[in-house]
């Protein structure tokens, strides 16, 4: 008779031997709508918590490792970090076509509950990457005063979708057969409205996401009294544009805004730790630790 195999725990754990912290990975939430989440925990009681709101589609993959490394960096500074996948994205349940701004916010609230159920933290901050910036800003606004860190945030959702459709058109033009013309942005939008979903660069974009984000601007989501904000612009040189313009408007109104720009490769690259690719991670973690009263 063979020995019974050990039951697999519902929580997978990985230790950080250097800091004594560890990561807990689990599915949480209601059956049929379960979310995939990772908690990065410090060795001692955390002095604060950070919820990391990722982006979706290609941006989800491109920034994944950077966000994971940030989680570890926050735990090394005595904070607990919660990363998760929205329903309809990543390893979570749900369909991509059902993803919407509202569902992303609901899922972030669930992630925050998941963190709170695991740890008693006196204060929480939010970090958002790209489209996740709008989500993080929304949650920060719900908790007035919650520090907000933004990695290359989407400032104007309408522009975001225009750029996405343009990128799709350019990519398909490069691959098109002679005489073939790929769908234009207007045609993609018409298809989205007709079919409820559309293929953009091999990703399913649902009408729910498009409609729920129509007209959304980061400035409005943050509100009239922005919390302490860190705006990180990924890329080797500071770029003018809507994000910098927003930063200047906030500063002009006397709000506390910090900037980190032009010092980092836009795209996470392999072996980046050797080229200082972790610098933005460290600076962001230090900023969050300082705002949450932990030691950077």
């Amino acid at each position: 008779m063979t020995a019974p195999r050990p039951m697999l725990e519902a929580v997978a754990t990985r230790a950080d031997l250097a800091t004594g912290g560890h990561e807990e990975v689990a599915f949480f939430g209601p059956s049929g709508g379960r979310l995939f989440g990772c908690l990065h925990l410090p060795p001692a009681e955390p002095s604060g918590g950070v919820v990391i709101c990722c982006s979706v589609n290609t941006e989800f993959e491109n920034n994944y490792r950077r966000e994971a490394m940030l989680g570890w960096a926050l735990a090394a500074r005595g904070l607990v970090a919660c990363r998760f996948h929205y329903r309809g994205a990543g390893h979570s349940d749900g369909l991509a076509e059902d993803l919407s701004f509202q569902s992303m916010i609901e899922d972030t609230r669930l992630a925050l509950d998941h963190l709170a159920a695991r740890c008693n933290v006196p204060s929480v901050a939010f970090l958002g990457t790209r489209l996740g910036g709008l989500v993080a800003a929304s949650l920060s606004a719900e908790r007035s005063g919650a520090p907000l860190a933004l990695w290359d945030p989407v400032v104007d959702a309408d522009s975001y979708f225009r750029e996405m459709f343009r990128a799709s058109f350019m990519a398909r033009m490069r691959e098109a057969a002679p005489g073939e013309r790929p769908p234009s942005g207007d045609q993609l939008l018409a298809e989205l409205r007709r079919a409820g979903r559309v293929d953009v660069l091999g990703q399913t974009i649902g009408l729910a996401l498009y409609r729920s984000l129509a007209g959304r601007r980061l400035e409005a989501v943050v509100g009239e009294r922005p919390p302490s904000v860190l705006m990180v612009q990924l890329g080797r040189t500071p770029r003018p544009g809507p994000a910098r313009d927003l930063l200047e408007r906030w500063r002009a109104r006397g709000f506390e805004v910090d900037e980190d720009a032009g010092q980092e490769s836009e795209q996470w690259w392999f072996g980046d730790h050797r080229r200082g690719g972790q610098a933005v991670i460290g600076r962001t973690a230090d900023w969050l630790a300082e705002r949450l009263g932990a030691s950077p």
């Binding site: 063979t2 195999r5 050990p6 697999l8 725990e9 519902a10 929580v11 997978a12 754990t13 990985r14 990561e23 990975v25 689990a26 599915f27 059956s31 049929g32 379960r34 995939f36 990772c38 589609n57 989800f60 993959e61 491109n62 994944y64 490792r65 994971a68 996948h85 994205a89 990543g90 390893h91 979570s92 349940d93 991509a96 691959e175 057969a177 293929d199 091999g202 990703q203 399913t204 080797r236 996470w268 392999f270 072996g271 730790h273």
Partner: protein, 310 residues
């Protein structure tokens, strides 16, 4: 016909040892009558995690679990939730340790003795290289994998090097529009990086053409891959190769390689090639949907010995 797919209710996150590292994976347990066969899903190169483009690996895992398979989808070392540092990808340096560790873990923790491997692009090449080493392997599926050895970012340069003469290849790089792009400070760094890639690929292609006439095929299939295909055939492992209908990497299977044509004939149907819509197999959502339908059906036929002789 698959009655119902798995959901996250049937999934468990795991960390499994691979050498000095811990790989992250998600195990999906079967929702249908278990077949006692495990599928290991390997992502492509680049930034892909165990999720893969448009959640293809997640959807495929849940579809296969609906067909009775245990499924493990993994993050390679240095990616996703796995430990380690990833230096980069080369198609001729597959992550064999990651695959073997995954199979070993399934044997130990789920008691599985029979396996199939599904890999996209770099993952497909890894599946191909690992195949003869996996005891109990019953089939592999290779999605849109180049059969020529490339480093990260060399794909388009390699395609150009394979088309036409070397003279034409180098002439492309010396066009005024290309040279002018170096004058702009903003684009100089990017252009220099692209130029270095093209020079590297061009030199390698030229060397292959001069030193090894047999490796003229090396423009479309590397000698190492030929050996791996021969090993597949010797071990009697069925393999499905899936490409986009306009994928230039399909060329070896479309008469572009004498070696591959000969192997296909000798394999007598055990090596099958299929196409889906798009330039790469999973470049379009429509192609991904075809893959999700095709893979479970083909695995069923392959494992039951119902592949047609060529």
């Amino acid at each position: 016909m698959i009655a119902s797919e798995a959901t996250a209710d049937k999934e468990v996150p795991v960390f499994l040892p691979a050498g000095e590292e811990l790989l992250f994976g998600v195990l999906t347990r079967p929702v249908a009558e278990p077949r006692s066969v495990a599928a290991v899903i390997l992502p492509g190169g680049g930034f892909h995690t165990a999720v893969h483009v448009n959640r293809l690996s997640v959807r495929l895992a849940r579809r296969l679990a609906g067909d009775g398979y245990h499924v493990l989808r993994i993050d390679y070392h240095g990616l996703g939730e796995s430990s380690g540092t990833l230096r980069g990808y080369r198609l001729d340096e597959p992550f064999l340790e990651d695959v073997e560790a995954s199979v070993s873990w399934l044997r130990k923790h789920e008691g599985i003795r029979r396996f199939v491997i599904v890999g996209g692009c770099f993952g497909g090449r890894t599946a191909l290289a690992a195949a003869p080493r996996i005891v109990g392997l019953e089939a592999i599926v290779v999605l849109t994998a180049p059969l020529v050895d490339l480093g990260m970012g060399e794909g388009s340069a390699a395609r150009r090097a394979a088309q036409g003469s070397m003279l034409r290849y180098w002439a492309r790089g010396l066009r005024p529009v290309v040279l002018r792009s170096f004058l702009s400070p903003r684009s100089f760094r990017r252009q220099a990086r692209v130029a270095r890639t093209h020079v590297r690929v061009g030199v390698r292609a030229a060397r292959q053409r001069i030193t090894d006439r047999r490796a003229l095929d090396g423009r479309v299939v590397s000698p190492g891959v030929v050996r791996e295909l021969e090993a597949l055939d010797r071990h009697g492992i069925p393999a499905l190769f899936v490409y986009g209908d306009r994928d230039p990497f399909r060329e070896p299977f479309a008469g572009g390689s004498e070696h591959v044509s000969r192997l296909l004939k000798e394999a007598r149907g055990r090596i099958e090639v299929a196409t889906v819509e798009g330039t790469r197999a999973y470049r379009l959502v429509a192609g991904q949907e075809e893959i999700l339908d095709m893979v479970p059906r083909w695995l069923g036929r392959a494992r039951e010995g119902r592949l047609k002789a060529g």
